[in-house]
């Protein structure tokens, strides 16, 4: 997707080659609406983090750690790859990565949607608390570790120990799962799950058949300590 030039304000292009990260983030946070380009990110960390308004931000290149971290309301697209912890602890809004994402994508995020066009590395969706994550490619090991709520859809494969120590998050994987983590089991894919997945895929702009996915969730056997009474 390209930004229509006519939507840009005169100051809509923020060049990280000429401005400091502080200046760029402060400028973005000062806006309550509008469309903005961040140019020459060059792998900078913490780009467009802490946004708190329904602005639309396009990062034109690769971003470093914690891009769009703690996002609320904003729509942020990274036109490239993203480093560790993209959209970590997001509350709402949309974060899209056109390329690949490094580890801990969407970590602890409470809401909104994270879309990763390519692959996501280890611990994708770790401790997620309500976010929806759609990954066009595959996810690495320990993804959805201790995931509490929300849904993760993976169009490719999942690495080892998927959903280890899972709580109530729903995991949908179309490809192969290397192994399931502790207390994570395959569950029946019912109509409600196919409907949820179809909705997520549609909003993410992913063309995939929900019926091709398998669902994984918590066996809930780790929810309480087991205490014997052998006295």
């Amino acid at each position: 997707m390209s930004i229509a030039a006519q939507t840009l304000r005169p100051n809509a292009a923020l060049d990280l080659g000429a401005m400091s990260l502080r200046e760029v983030n402060a400028a973005l946070k000062a806006e309550s609406e509008g469309v903005f380009d961040v140019l020459n990110p060059g792998g900078a960390h913490a780009v467009a983090c802490g946004l708190n308004a329904p602005v639309e931000v396009h990062v034109r290149g690769h971003a470093g750690y914690y891009a769009a971290g703690m996002n609320r309301l904003a729509s942020v697209t990274i036109h490239g790859n993203a480093g560790t912890g993209v959209a970590e602890n997001m509350m709402s809004g949309l974060v899209r990565v056109t390329g690949d994402a490094s580890q801990s994508a969407g970590a602890t995020a409470h809401g909104g949607m994270l879309v990763i066009g390519g692959d996501a590395s280890a611990r994708c969706g770790i401790s997620m608390k309500g976010v929806e994550i759609v990954v066009g490619g595959s996810v690495g090991h320990m993804s959805a570790f201790m995931a509490q709520a929300g849904a993760l859809a993976v169009l490719g494969d999942a690495g080892e120990a998927l959903g280890d120590s899972l709580y109530e998050a729903r995991l949908y994987v179309r490809g192969a799962v290397a192994s399931l983590g502790a207390d994570c089991i395959e569950k029946e894919m019912r109509d409600e799950h196919r409907a949820q997945l179809a909705d997520m895929l549609a909003r993410a702009g992913m063309d995939a058949d929900p019926s091709a996915f398998r669902r994984y969730g918590s066996a809930r056997k780790l929810y309480n300590f087991k205490i014997d009474n052998a006295y």
Binding site: G69, I126, G130, Y167, N224, N229
Partner: protein, 441 residues
């Protein structure tokens, strides 16, 4: 029938190795198949502040008048990078304790007491409550591995952010909150099913090591517009390196928690066998700051078994800028108060020994989510008691500082101390009393 002479026999003698507590624990473990979980800090006898003494002024030092001459207790925390560093009237702060482990009343009381005394209080592994924020003039927001209740709105309401890497009671371990205390409100705040035995993560989900943490801190500063100080809290285990790496990662303040520091709930084996005593941790931490040229620039807060102004004075003399209290603050609120002895007896314990904080049946209403029990703690009265206690500690601290000739409590120094035991002398790096011998130096 003639009576046979009795052969002398040994008296029943219990083993020092297999003492009553050890035997009871073996039987309990055999019966239940689960390790012992409890609250509080190490209960075993450890080298501590009691093993240190101050050398009051005499011929070679000049004391200050106890009531007439000024002795400053003010401390500024976090002036390395933050636009708004914290200024406190006393260097005795309230340590992080969560809503969930503590009742809402207890959290409110901590905020009230800290505010009255001119100091800060700290959230815990459960997010920020409105009661706590509303009654705390200065509130430090903990950023923990679990990120329960973490949201940018609360982050921006905080006066400082404390990135928790570890805790003295359990360095290397995560928190616990058992199902009895996960009621509707706690479950909602933590996004957990009601009634689960919650075991927090021990590592942060999106960074590993000081290089990553440096970037995480950059993110936190960007989100809060570089306004508030960033603390890093570590459990005392390898204090020299942990403090040095905290500074490297960008901390404005380092919080160092010794093994006497309490926890809401964790395995007893963790509490008693992992970490090092508080007095053993301070000097290496201070040395790390000095080696980096950052002593007094990155402030050091020490916690773990601080109970009195004397303890605070000793921590400051060893190089700390401030101290934190947790368990002592709960006692000031009413925890383990003998007035509830009948209730403690009903729980199979006694006032002063009650440590099953994780069960949520605290008669004093401090470590519970039971509405009836929690209502026993009046947050206004509890806050007043805490403020009184903090004021007494501050007066005690000044008393000692003046006796050592200091017009500012942070002018206390290791040369004002001696040790009662060889162990304490070695750990604190001060001479054995009556000698000029500092073991290991």
């Amino acid at each position: 029938m003639t009576e046979q002479p009795r052969i002398p026999r040994t008296v029943p003698r219990k083993s020092a190795t297999f003492d009553d507590a050890t035997l009871a624990e073996i039987r309990r473990a055999a019966a239940t198949g689960i390790y012992d979980i409890r609250g509080g800090g190490a209960k075993r006898k450890l080298p501590h502040f009691d093993d240190l003494l101050f050398l009051g002024a005499s011929m070679s030092r000049y004391p200050l008048e106890g009531y007439r001459e000024a002795c400053s207790t003010e401390v500024v925390l976090g002036d390395r990078h933050a636009k708004n560093p914290i200024t406190l009237r006393t260097p005795i702060t309230i340590a992080g304790m969560s809503f969930g482990s503590l009742s809402a009343q207890a959290k409110e009381a901590l905020g009230r007491g800290a505010t009255l005394a001119g100091t800060s209080t700290t959230t815990g592994d459960g997010g920020m409550t409105a009661e706590e924020r509303g009654h705390s003039k200065t509130l430090v927001y903990q950023y923990l591995p679990s990120r329960y209740g973490m949201n940018p709105e609360d982050l921006r309401k905080a006066d400082a952010i404390e990135v928790v890497v570890g805790q003295g009671a359990k360095p290397g371990g995560g928190g616990m909150l058992l199902g009895q205390k996960i009621n509707d409100r706690v479950a909602q705040m933590r996004t957990l099913p009601k009634g689960v035995d919650q075991r927090s993560a021990c590592r942060h989900p999106d960074w590993t090591g000081p290089d990553d943490l440096e970037i995480k801190i950059l993110e936190l500063r960007e989100i809060t517009d570089w306004r508030v100080p960033i603390y890093i809290k570590v459990g005392a285990s390898r204090p020299y390196y942990d403090v040095a790496l905290s500074v490297k990662a960008g901390a404005d303040v380092v919080v160092l928690d010794g093994m006497q520091g309490g926890t809401a709930a964790t395995q007893d084996v963790f509490i008693e066998h992992v970490g090092i005593p508080t007095i053993a941790a301070i000097r290496p931490a201070v040395q790390a700051l000095k080696d980096l040229g950052m002593h007094r620039k990155v402030q050091l807060i020490v916690s773990g078994g601080v109970r009195s102004g004397a303890d605070a004075a000793k921590a400051l003399a060893l190089g700390a800028d401030a101290v934190s209290i947790g368990t002592a603050a709960l006692v000031a609120l009413g925890d383990n108060d003998p007035r509830w002895e009948a209730d403690y007896q009903a729980l199979g314990t006694t006032a002063g020994a009650y440590d099953d904080w994780h069960e949520g049946r605290d008669p004093a209403g401090v470590t519970t989510q039971d509405p009836a029990l929690a209502a026993r703690l009046d947050p206004v009265a509890g806050g007043r008691r805490l403020a009184n206690y903090l004021n007494v500690m501050t007066l005690e601290l000044q008393t000692i500082a003046r006796a050592c000739g200091k017009s500012d409590v942070r002018n206390l120094e290791p040369q004002d101390l001696c040790a009662l035991t060889i162990e304490a002398a070695a750990m604190a790096g001060v001479p054995l009393a009556g000698t000029d011998w500092t073991p290991g130096r």
